[in-house]
Point group: C2
Chain length 198, copies 2
């Protein structure tokens, strides 16, 4: 009888993590209390607090879990990517999409709240470092980039920084069309820097 | 006797705007009430409310005024810029610095709060459009870029989006060294796209 209960507990945890991402993206840090998230997840407040004693625990676990899962999906798609320039463009557009969605908006709320909250900052700084490292590693692999060539590492990093900036521009208004044009132009420059450097 | 009073009123307004930027950057939107800003500015709450009836009025006026002033300073520096590649690098590093400072951190708090506050959003969306337009226009001029060439407009926009993304990466930790490397490499790509296109 232990196993179904473990499954139930995992499912509850999972619902809480998804609900926390949705709450953060829509209501911000101030609105995303454990009670609000529990209600959205259809879980009692007591059960929520059993899994996550504090709001800091809940929301940082949510961003970490959902990001790791998204990166794992993208990694699983790597073998199907086309070769050559099409690959670079596909990777750049995919990264742009990732930073234009709900997960980025949720993470942004957390990052920005941490700027004026030392308890939260202590949890968010290592999370940001982890997410940044994993996103960078995956992008290098996806672009088939050789970071031992001068400038390649910085061009890969710039791709992620650019996507973050475009994500921010998409928070208050739908910036899809402009983003698409900017990313396609950047893919041309990036391909030159990464694969035609000399 | 009207003039000294006008001067005093202007000075009070100015102190409130500067204090609002500082409060937003350090305390976030939630912490930046008219009372808190007035106290920081050394102005009575009544006087503050005479100038700015609501917190929304105060903080959006602050971001607009301080940004316009910063952009005007940068515009005044244009005639002294060096020619050629040095100019591109100087412009890229200057934009990077602008988004790494207090003004960007304050604007970021406002943008992000507006994502879950419709009253604030209605004021911030036109402000974002105004600031974006002016920053773009100045960057085109500073880079001596000809936007009628294919891809040039997008490369200029990407420079501002990149700087915004780097600004975000600088909110919780000091990212100065990495930013400098990324921007110098970016300047090389950008110079190629803007001045060696063909």
């Amino acid at each position: 009888m232990a196993e179904p209960q473990q499954d139930r507990s995992r499912a509850t945890r999972r619902r809480l993590l998804d609900a926390a991402v949705g709450c953060l993206a829509e209501l911000g840090w101030t609105g995303s209390t454990v009670s609000v998230v529990a209600e959205r997840a259809g879980v009692s407040r007591g059960a929520a607090q059993h899994h996550f004693p504090t709001r800091e625990d809940l929301v940082t676990a949510a961003i970490e879990h959902v990001t790791d899962e998204r990166l794992a999906q993208l990694r699983a798609d790597l073998p199907a990517l086309p070769p050559g320039y099409d690959r670079t463009e596909h990777v750049v557009l995919t990264i742009g999409e990732m930073y234009a969605g709900k997960l980025f908006r949720a993470a942004l709320q957390l990052w920005v709240a941490a700027a004026s909250d030392d308890t939260l900052r202590a949890k968010v700084v290592p999370l940001e470092a982890h997410v940044g490292r994993e996103a960078h590693r995956l992008t290098v692999e996806a672009l088939d980039a050789d970071e031992s060539h001068p400038g390649v590492r910085e061009s890969v990093q710039a791709t992620l920084d650019l996507a973050r900036g475009l994500g921010l521009a998409n928070v208050l208004t739908d910036d899809t069309k402009r983003r698409d044009r900017v990313l396609r132009e950047w893919a041309r420059s990036l391909h030159r820097s990464v694969h035609e450097a000399g």
